[in-house]
Subunit: 380 residues, 2 copies
């Protein structure tokens, strides 16, 4: 109330946060060079503020509280920062590890989990206070951390080739270990229903899937030998799987070290096709309705976007938004897409039906774009 | 600002709306007898206000603006009311017809469409001003109105057995007519990706599906003769299809005039099973992860809920929340479910993992429960 009180008395209009601000169409854009977050309004296609002091945000990601007010930002430097998008301020910040790589929030909003490289393992924090409530050492770098229903988290061990399920519904974490996932899982995805977990492997020429609805899930290799007989290109950037796409009953997965995306039947998990792409795909993301899949590419071809039709599996649109297209985020019902064009210092907004550019927003080396609608989804 | 200004000067704390109120975890509950809406906070499991003066709210439904601030309420009396859940007030209200039955909001948030019985047809309004921007007479009662991507609405004609697609992306509505849907479509659903539209029929012993990704969708009868050889029971209440469930690759549909739900393969649209239920199902709703389906029933058996496992298709839980269980709404990631128990004057909140009752909230003859997360979904 304090700021309001003064403002009202002095008759000043308030800078920064507004008084009656809904949060359903807000978002945060990671400004990696300056360690800040741009607060954006989706409906107005505008920046409405900036939150600073978040440390090293290279490769940073974040999740939202269920009310779409708070974001938990996972910095590469091991910092876990809680920000308030209404007040546009840092609420709390802890250095929870030396080097971390993403996190998740439980389905009840009570716990935030962080996946660490140095030291390895997963640490789990109270979402209100950021007090650590569980420390799960793994003796390995951990990757592919996601939330699933029932106050559970799933993650994989780079060194051990295992996937672990941590059940936080009881007093102490219950751990289920699933060995035999394959060599060096580097990232993973979970489907929107929290049922199918797919790990990408750096050391094997396949991916591995788990049916998390089974009491004791069994690793199932999929797309075995997808690069067989072809020389792998030098990998400029590992593709991201959290930017997975499910389109009309199929998954679309970026191939490692190849210029193609792979189509997989979402039910049988068998290959249904491949689409040759302009470069090494980094993100292959489905428009929320699944009809189109948008793909960006690794350096030096990261100035281009291709749009693939999920029925014909053909590229239906290609364009060059600018240098360093790092990330994309669709509005919740898919009508618009926002693209981070790092080296242009801009975020660009496009109509996904007409491909027309609708707006440009200045940003400092923008990377990840995260809309608050993620608060309502599983496995984000 | 006015109210704030006074409040600050006089040092009063504000009644009703708070200053920094995120909207991601709010909801509205229809109080049919009193023509009011209860404003609720999902995270606190609490009522935080009431909005009055909405006319006849029997069989009322609503949709949300993309920012999760405004709701558009479709009253049975033909009233279209825009309410502000932050200010907890009615913003605008128009009597747009004599008798209406639900509506939808376009994917870009610009248009609100209402489906009318008297006169028939669909009317489309500017979401900001509620000015009518299109009047689409059909010479028939219209039902099953949904939004799909591309600023389009889909609805069906009770008398004509047709489905129409209205494209609002241009200056004037473009109408696609699809005849041959069957006799007396009474309700319809669209899948979350906006691709498959399924109409329930009162005059035929099957349902009819459309693939909206086809340029000219062809009606496809499904579940033909699902009640053949069995005497239909008197129908106490038509089942709702908008409370459809997609669970692990299958749809679950309430059968008309039978004590069962029908399972349909979401891809082939063939029947995959039936589950006998306690009464005539009204809503069969999937927990967001699809593992469980919750079913309520028509009078006189409307005091009971059954929970069905989508893998085994067996009832795994049954309980009696109280008299007149009219509606249910899951929290976005499915951890809790809210139930309207009309004749107990209560909304009850349950944990969907443990089935434990977490809270009760007093309400005046509560019926529909609508959480703001619906703003981010297609076909709601």
């Amino acid at each position: 109330m304090k700021r309001l009180f003064l403002a009202a008395l002095t008759g000043l209009t308030l800078a920064g946060p507004s008084l009656a601000q809904p949060t359903g169409d807000l978002g945060l854009i990671v400004e990696r060079a300056s360690g800040s977050l741009l607060v954006v309004d989706q409906s107005d296609r505008a920046r409405i503020g900036r939150i600073t002091g978040l440390g090293d945000l290279s490769h940073a990601s974040l999740v939202y509280s269920p009310d779409e007010r708070f974001a938990y930002v996972f910095g590469r430097d091991g910092g876990l920062t809680k920000v308030d998008i209404l007040e546009q301020s840092v609420v709390n910040r802890v250095m929870q590890a030396g080097n971390s790589i993403g996190g998740a929030i439980s389905d009840d909003g009570r716990f935030v989990a962080v996946s660490n490289y140095e030291p390895g393992g997963v640490r789990i924090f109270d979402a209100d206070t950021l007090d650590m409530v569980a420390d799960i050492p793994t003796g390995s770098k951990t990757i592919g951390l996601v939330d699933i229903p029932g106050t559970k988290f799933v993650f994989s061990l780079w060194d051990e080739g295992e996937t672990w399920i941590a059940d936080m519904s009881g007093e102490t974490p219950g751990i289920t270990r699933i060995p035999g996932m394959g060599s060096n899982p580097y990232d993973a995805l979970v489907t929107g229903d929290g049922r199918t977990y797919i790990a990408g492997l750096f050391g094997d020429d396949h991916l591995t899937a788990l049916d998390l609805w089974q009491p004791q899930p069994e690793p199932k290799p999929i797309l075995d030998g997808y690069a067989k007989g072809r020389e792998g290109l030098p990998v400029y950037k590992m593709p991201h799987l959290e930017g997975w796409a499910q389109a009309g009953g199929e998954f679309v997965l970026p191939a490692v070290g190849q210029h193609e995306v792979l189509w997989v039947d979402a039910r049988s998990l068998t290959e249904t096709g491949r689409t040759e792409t302009y470069g090494q795909p980094v993100f292959a993301m489905s428009r929320p309705d699944g009809r189109h899949v948008w793909v960006n590419f690794a350096h030096p071809l990261n100035d281009t976007i291709q749009v693939i039709d999920s029925v014909t599996k053909q590229v239906v649109h290609e364009f060059k938004p600018g240098p360093g297209v790092l990330h994309m985020e669709f509005t919740p019902r898919g009508r618009e897409v926002w693209l981070s064009v790092r080296d242009a210092g801009k975020v660009m907004v496009y109509d996904t039906q007409t491909f027309e550019k609708l707006s440009e927003i200045d940003a400092e080396s923008p990377s990840g774009i995260f809309f608050t609608a993620r608060a309502h989804r599983t496995g984000m």
